[in-house]
Amino acid sequence: EAGVVQSPRYKIIEKKQPVAFWCNPISGHNTLYWYRQNLGQGPELLIRYENEEAVDDSQLPKDRFSAERLKGVDSTLKIQPAELGDSAVYLCASSPSDGRYYEQYFGPGTRLTVT
């Protein structure tokens, strides 16, 4: 069984440029999470989807961040425009849809560097 797939693995951009990250969850997992992991910190939840609905986006900086999961499968996280402080690892995770939020499987992450 394939795990959570993320691309790209690394991205270097200049500030004020846009950037997008893609995630494909484990097949059959209806819950999808985007986390941001700053250097020296643990992951922090940005947004959680149940199928195509964003059920918790309270920590998503909505002025510059957006996310979508149009068909309830793969998802894209976008930053526009990027700022220096957005440099971090962006992790995607998925879990089964039966309330087992604690059973999360993580992808390898996208390391973003904003210069």
């Binding site: 918790d56 995770a93 939020y101 604690y102």
Partner: protein, 113 residues
């Protein structure tokens, strides 16, 4: 609000020595507790979890953790560390109301030969 504290940013142990990584949590109810490991360039992998019952839980790779309610702790242990255990370890608490995990800042384990 739920929170997790991992007091040690870095720990260095000799190969073959025992290991204990500390974790303290703050949660109003009976917590769900987890330990994850992250190797460089990799995602997080679940080592073990505690929901209820026996307070000593066994995980993968020879790790175990003990839940101590009186100390609000969930420390991770391994009797004999291998060089391949060098990684970053994260403790997390499950926020059942928010259906999410709250992570600590992590402890970087270095293993010296």
């Amino acid at each position: 609000a739920q929170s997790v504290t991992q007091p040690d940013i870095h720990i260095t142990v000799s190969e073959g020595a025992s290991l204990e990584l500390r974790c303290n949590y703050s949660y109003g109810a009976t917590p769900y507790l987890f330990w994850y490991v992250q190797s460089p360039g990799q995602g997080l992998q679940l080592l073990l979890k505690y929901f209820s019952g026996d307070t000593l839980v066994q995980g993968i790779k020879g790790f175990e953790a003990e839940f101590k309610r009186s100390q609000s702790s969930f420390n991770l242990r391994k009797p004999s560390v291998h060089w391949s255990d060098a990684a970053e370890y994260f403790c997390a608490v499950g926020d059942r109301d928010g259906n999410k995990l709250v992570f600590g800042a992590g402890t970087i384990l270095r293993v010296k030969s």
